[in-house]
């Protein structure tokens, strides 16, 4: 059955290997030069406080150095969609196409039980899907190593750019570590299970895509933040409001002091009695009509009025606990969907 599974799967496997090879070629061509840029930057040989600046400068330059931002974005996108692709093109047709062509009547009347037939097919193809996604993720991690190192030294920078994301942020978190394994297993099992219900390849592929996309939106929005309750901190003092660690217009924090790679869940200014403050007091504005009485700068002005910043965040140290939790959830979903496939193909239901 293993050999027969391979016989039916080899074309798809070939396509996947070609895609992996093409991606590897792009990374091999650009990777060494990226590493040499890092080696030649001011980060090498920096001391103490200058390192963060050097790292920020390196990342800032990189945003305008073709083709690195593009390759990085492309790589992230590829790792993100790989589980969907394998779910749609490997999972959904796996059983649906057998029903569509009527070949299930040929396959299930050979001297092998249907359970064994399905077990081998599911296991091998699922492992292949997981291997493809994880390989893409590892190749990207190898290529992006200088970027990760710079972020580790100076924090994500510049804000809003492709290099301005923390490891716990949606895109990096979902494309690094072991989560790609969970997504790939889930996407594949979802496609296969959908195929056992719809039994026609193309509609099954469409439904797989819709469900997978919905899950990938819902999990980071509504599930992941609650897996471990976020930490809360209140920052006071003029330096926070003076530094570029907040967005002045909305009074929200962009970094957590002392925690360069923390993921901010929510933030906002509060007054001395703990009530939220939504706008900067008129007196503290630089072009204030009451400027004569205004303190020298925004930070001192805010601090003198007892205004502080409350931040809830996930520390960077929770990267691995979150990775394990999320991967576990997706692997459990994949197992449940695989069980659904066995149940759907039972002799009573066909």
């Amino acid at each position: 059955m293993i050999r027969f599974t391979w016989l039916q799967f080899r074309v798809q496997a070939g396509v996947a290997l070609a895609a992996l090879a093409a991606f590897a070629a792009v990374l091999m061509v650009t990777g060494p030069h990226l590493a040499s840029l890092y080696a030649g930057s001011a980060i090498t040989g920096c001391r103490g406080g200058s390192c963060a600046n050097a790292a920020n400068t390196f990342l800032s330059r990189l945003t305008t150095t073709s083709p690195y931002p593009t390759v990085y974005e492309l790589g992230i996108a590829l790792v993100l969609i790989a589980p969907a692709i394998t779910g749609i093109f490997w999972g959904a047709p796996l059983i649906a196409r057998e029903f569509e062509a009527g070949t299930h009547r040929l396959a299930w009347t050979q001297s092998i039980t249907r359970t064994q037939w399905l077990a081998v097919k599911l296991a091998l193809t699922c492992l292949a899907a997981m291997a493809v996604t994880e390989t893409l993720s590892l190749m990207l991690a190898w290529w992006a190593d200088p970027i990760s190192k710079a972020i580790g030294i100076g924090g994500p920078y510049p804000p809003g750019s492709v290099f301005g994301q923390v490891r716990l942020g949606s895109f990096i978190f979902a494309t690094s570590g072991i989560t790609p394994l969970g997504y790939a297993a889930f996407g594949f099992a979802l496609g296969t299970a959908t195929g056992t219900f719809i039994r026609r390849a193309v509609p099954a592929m469409a439904v797989t895509l819709a469900i997978f996309a919905a899950v990938q939106v819902a999990i980071p929005l509504w599930v992941r933040p609650h897996l471990i309750p976020p930490n809360r901190t209140v920052v006071s003092g003029p330096s926070f409001f003076q530094a570029a660690s907040m967005s002045v217009g909305t009074l929200t924090a962009t970094t957590v002091p002392g925690q360069t790679e923390a993921l901010i869940v929510s933030s906002g200014a509060i007054n001395a009695s703990g009530q939220p403050v939504s706008t900067i007091p008129v007196a503290c504005l630089s072009d204030s009509p009451v400027k004569a009485n205004a303190p020298p700068d925004l930070g001192t002005c805010m601090a003198s009025r007892g205004i502080r910043e409350a931040i809830t965040y996930q520390p960077a140290s929770r990267y691995w606990p979150f990775q394990w939790l999320e991967t576990g959830i997706f692997l459990a979903l994949a197992l449940a969907l695989a069980g659904t496939c066995f149940w759907r193909l039972g002799r009573r239901r066909n």
Binding site: G102, T103, R105, L106, T109, S111, R347
Partner: protein, 298 residues
């Protein structure tokens, strides 16, 4: 006597629809059995239950004395050629044979390769580009080379042209002659069955209307025609299968194990076609159709 297929109270329900309901039959081993009936009679469902593609909703079915698809060994004892003879269109003929070898421990490589060669098929040709007749022959080869004890074929020639149909049936005859295995073959075309079958089962709306050796069926059925008379006036040993009347004349198709001596009748033999059509168009008789089992002769 051992049976190739033995069923009682066999039912299969899909949602609210009964594909097969309370079917009882016993098909003796070692015969080439034709299963004939109108579309929707439950032939395909019955055969799928026999090869283990389906499990019954209620009732029981035994194939070669065991429960169908009860593990790899039982699957290996039954060869199946499904309706429209499905094959993997993208795999070549040769790869189909390799699939057969991988998935069937008793695979007969020589027979399989010999048949493909004899049929003049190129092992490298994709199965999707084969003609309907060639595809059916490939499906038959796969079913035979696993060395089954019985072969089940679901309308294997329904979609074939007359030449391919003749070739397929003669292949089947050769296999039966060479291996002496039991064959169950469904069709709605009596002419095909007449050529190959020595035993006939007529299935209408899940019920066996008649079953028996073809030669016995032919010798025990007669067409009687003569002056008009009522069916009730016929002797008790003559079961009326079909009757038609004009103003002056009556024609009956009767089943009787005794010779018909009444000089008032013109007695003519029946063809298998007449016989099947008579049974298929017979009005459903609750008392008769609930009779649990038919007699198995010989």
């Amino acid at each position: 006597m051992s049976f190739v297929i033995e069923a009682s109270g066999l039912s299969k329900q899909y949602g609210r629809r009964w594909a097969l309901r309370d079917c009882a039959l016993a098909i003796p081993e070692g015969k080439v059995v034709g299963l004939v009936g109108p579309n929707g009679a439950g032939k395909t469902t019955l055969l799928h239950l026999a090869v283990g593609l389906l499990a019954p909703t209620s009732g029981s079915i035994r194939v070669l004395g065991a429960s169908p698809a009860d593990g790899p060994a039982q699957l290996g004892r039954v060869g199946f050629v499904a309706q429209d003879t499905p094959v993997y269109t993208r795999l070549s003929v040769g790869r189909h044979l390799r699939m057969g070898a991988w998935l069937n421990p008793n695979w007969d490589k020589e027979t399989a390769e010999g048949r493909i060669e004899q049929l003049g098929l190129d092992p490298r040709q994709r199965a999707g580009t084969l003609s309907g007749g060639q595809r059916a022959q490939l499906a038959l080869t796969l079913a035979i080379a696993k060395r089954p004890e019985c072969l089940v074929l679901d309308e294997p020639v329904a979609s074939l042209d007359p030449v391919a149909r003749r070739d397929f049936l003669s292949s089947l005859m050769e296999i039966v002659a060479a291996q002496g295995i039991s064959v169950v073959l469904s069709s709605h075309l009596v002419a095909d069955l007449e050529r190959v079958c020595d035993y006939l089962v007529v299935l209408v709306a899940s019920k066996v209307q008649v079953a028996g050796e073809v030669s016995e069926l032919l010798s025990s059925h007669h067409r009687l025609s003569g002056a008009r008379r009522d069916a009730g006036s016929l002797p008790a040993n003559q079961e009326v299968i079909e009757e038609s009347h004009t103003d002056r004349q009556s024609t009956f198709l009767v089943r009787t194990s005794d010779p018909v001596h009444d000089p008032a009748w013109t007695v003519r033999p029946v063809t298998l076609d007449d016989l099947v059509i008579a049974y298929m168009s017979r009005p459903a008789d609750p008392e008769r159709t609930h009779r649990p089992q038919l007699k198995v002769t010989s």
